[in-house]
């Protein structure tokens, strides 16, 4: 079993499924010879050939659209949108077609595609390379929305996403791509797409999070632990459909909840989690919920991105606030 980074885990999962299933193919900008701007598809052109590893023209709407056509004919396209800041032109095809094809045709045609896209800030990238648009997709009926937080989860969730018979949006936090390594067995074992993961058990408060922020939440948990505050960390992982029961069980146990994510606060996916707690777990709450998130501003250029993101300090501070409230 090798220690791999998150981006290597993505590569392993892609290679595994391409090897196992001849219907799986990749398309996107610069994913071929170049192996993707983050090297997620490194080596796959050589192994699987030009017909299954397609360098497309620069056209995100087209990429999503042709992937739908391929999927409708039984292929399992895994399309890459080079950065989430460029995913917006693809939304039309995703919401109007990918997410509806099965429903529209009463199951006659289906859309087993995955749309992978690097997301999030924190790597000093240029403008538009630091977006966190997951909430927009979580609002769209018929989709799945997945964001891994560790190499092992990236591997298992990506396998599951490719095998899933419906369209999956798979966001990969660029900040985690090479931040740490983890043992990942390339054994083709998928992880469930309908469960949150409890990454750390704790008594005092629940922190619900996903993506790159998960890393900071775990760091905050260490700090807080030293101060005697024992938090439980829930990695949502699959935002849609949401496994709310795991979150609810944790909040029932701890009575306090912080939701941490990098996207802007207003109408971010944290709001949905807070709303469901308010509907189904109100009486468990011993303190108001606290959201620690990106601010409601345009993700700034790199000089300010650290100030924008929910830092370890802000997360720890948020936990202390919910601990103090009565």
């Amino acid at each position: 079993m090798a220690e791999v980074t998150l981006v290597e885990a993505v590569n392993l999962a892609l290679a595994h499924e391409m090897q196992r299933d001849a219907d799986v193919l990749l398309l996107g900008e610069d994913i071929g010879v170049n192996g993707g701007v983050f090297r997620a598809t490194n080596g796959l052109l050589g192994r699987f050939g030009r017909e299954r590893v397609i360098d497309t023209p620069l056209a995100e709407a087209g990429i999503a659209g042709v992937a739908i056509g391929m999927a409708a004919m039984g292929l399992k396209p895994v399309a890459e949108i080079q950065f989430s800041g460029f995913i917006y032109p693809a939304i039309d095809h995703i919401i109007n077609h990918a997410s509806r094809l099965r429903n529209r045709t009463r199951g006659r045609l289906t859309c087993p595609m995955v749309l992978r896209s690097p997301c999030g800030a924190g790597i000093h990238a240029p403008e538009h390379h630091s977006e966190s648009p997951e909430a927009m997709f979580a609002h769209m009926p018929g989709l799945r929305v997945v964001i891994p937080s560790t190499p092992a989860r990236a591997y298992g969730l990506l396998l599951a996403s490719i095998r899933d018979p419906d369209p999956v949006m798979f966001f990969e936090p660029t900040r985690l791509y090479r931040l740490f390594r983890e043992e990942v067995a390339d054994d083709g074992e998928a992880l469930p797409l309908d469960s949150c993961f409890v990454s750390r058990e704790g008594r005092d408060a629940t922190v619900v999070t996903w993506g790159a922020t998960h890393y900071d939440v775990l760091a905050a948990a260490e700090q807080l632990g030293e101060e005697g505050i024992d938090i439980e960390v829930v990695d949502v992982a699959t935002l849609k459909p949401l496994d709310f029961d795991t979150i609810l069980a944790s909040v029932e146990k701890t009575g306090r909840c912080v939701i941490a994510h990098e996207a802007p606060r207003t109408a971010g996916f944290g709001a949905e989690i807070a709303a469901q707690i308010c509907e189904r777990g109100l009486y468990f709450l011993q303190a108001p919920i606290k959201r620690v998130t990106g601010y409601d501003v345009v993700v700034p250029l790199s000089r300010l991105e650290k100030q924008y993101m929910p830092s370890v300090e802000r997360i720890a501070d948020g936990v202390k606030q919910v601990m103090e409230a009565q």
């Binding site: 087209g62 659209g65 004919m73 039309d92 109007n96 099965r102 045709t105 045609l109 309908d194």
Partner: protein, 360 residues
């Protein structure tokens, strides 16, 4: 130095119904021509009935193909059964030839998704409303066929308005790079709702939009079913032989309103409409068939009677189809309904008013 491009124009039957000298064997193929003629009439009879149903509150908004019958029919008749259609919302003329039933088309416009569960054309794409998006799906499907070495070709239709959309361009450009087995038919009916073709683009033709993608573009008289059919056949053969995509601009005219929700008298000169009627495809072909002795008055009467009866029977089937139940919203949303959505399904059931009345 420099580059030169040519867009040709094909017309085999004049508006008066006279075949050009270069018309070739198709002009003598009585059986084929009668088949095309029947299919065009069937489309027209259906359209009239569908509009009437909408007017009497028995159908939702409907987009008639009146005047453009030669396009759908001419193209679909050139397709093999295992080829694939990616239609727009005005292509039931083609869809009927693919095996889509009148009842299905009525169900769709009647607001019932079961109309897209084609019982015969199992692989064809459903009606596509977001203008131009179907072209990308067609390219993706064509890529799949090419990858699998299946000898199948995809035909897709888009309007003059849609040909100005970025989605059309991106998809066509990809098709060009990948030499996808694809035929893109632009139904240039002169209008995008109230927007005349000249406000849609400054391009002298719509066929030349293919040049931007390095793809062959041709213009045909879209009221001449012979020209449409021949051009489609050539394009499909080329695509099947690995020759890549073709764009066919078929020039016609939308003789009806955009849809039943539209009132074209607000924006259209009645003189234009009158002039367009003189070029319409069905009487043109009838004149030719009659002159050649391929068709007579009795056959005409019998055909119209048969079309009328068939449409009525399908309408009856449509009207007696029980309305869908609220569960249908949740069915086929995913392969398996996420357990948490079960509560919503039950809530919908609880509030569903007496389900079960027909489409009437």
């Amino acid at each position: 130095m420099g580059l030169d491009f040519h867009i040709d124009h094909l017309q085999l039957l004049s508006p008066a119904g006279e075949a050009s000298e270069s018309a070739g064997p198709i002009a003598e193929d009585a059986q084929l021509l009668r088949r095309l003629y029947r299919a065009m009439n069937r489309t027209r009879v259906f359209d009239a009935k569908a509009v009437a149903l909408q007017r009497t509150g028995k159908l939702g908004t409907f987009a008639s193909a009146l005047g453009q019958e030669a396009i759908g029919v001419g193209v679909a008749a050139a397709m093999a059964p295992h080829d694939l259609l990616a239609p727009s919302y005005r292509d039931h003329g083609a869809q009927f030839l693919r095996g889509v039933s009148i009842t299905e088309i009525l169900l769709y416009w009647g607001g019932d998704a079961r109309g897209s569960d084609f019982k015969a054309a199992r692989a064809d794409f459903p009606i596509c409303v977001p203008v131009g998006t179907q072209v990308a799906h067609a390219v993706g499907a064509a890529y799949a066929f090419k990858l699998r070495k299946e000898p199948r070709v995809v035909a897709t239709f888009v309007g003059d308005g849609g040909s100005n959309n970025g989605g059309f361009y991106e998809a066509l450009n990809m098709a060009g790079v990948w030499r996808a087995p694809l035929v893109v038919v632009i139904n240039n009916n002169g209008w995008a709702i109230s927007t005349p073709r000249t406000i849609g683009t400054a391009a002298e033709s719509l066929a030349q939009k293919a040049i931007a993608a390095g793809v062959l573009g041709r213009q045909v008289d879209g009221n001449d079913v012979l020209a449409v059919h021949v051009a489609a056949r050539e394009a499909i053969e080329k695509a099947r032989d690995g020759g890549g995509p073709t764009v066919i601009e078929a020039i016609s005219y939308r003789l009806g309103d955009h849809t039943t929700a539209d009132d074209a008298t607000r924006y259209r000169d009645p003189e234009d409409l009158k002039a367009a009627w003189a070029r319409e495809p069905i009487s043109r072909l009838r004149a030719y068939l009659a002159a050649k002795g391929f068709w007579d008055r009795e056959q005409e009467t019998a055909l119209l009677k048969q079309c009328g009866e068939e449409v009525e029977a399908e309408v009856a089937r449509y009207l007696s189809t029980p309305a869908p139940k609220s569960d249908a919203m949740f069915e086929h949303l995913y392969a398996t309904l996420p357990p948490a959505m079960r509560l919503q399904l039950e809530e919908a059931r609880r509030f569903a008013p007496g389900e079960g009345d027909g489409h009437g």
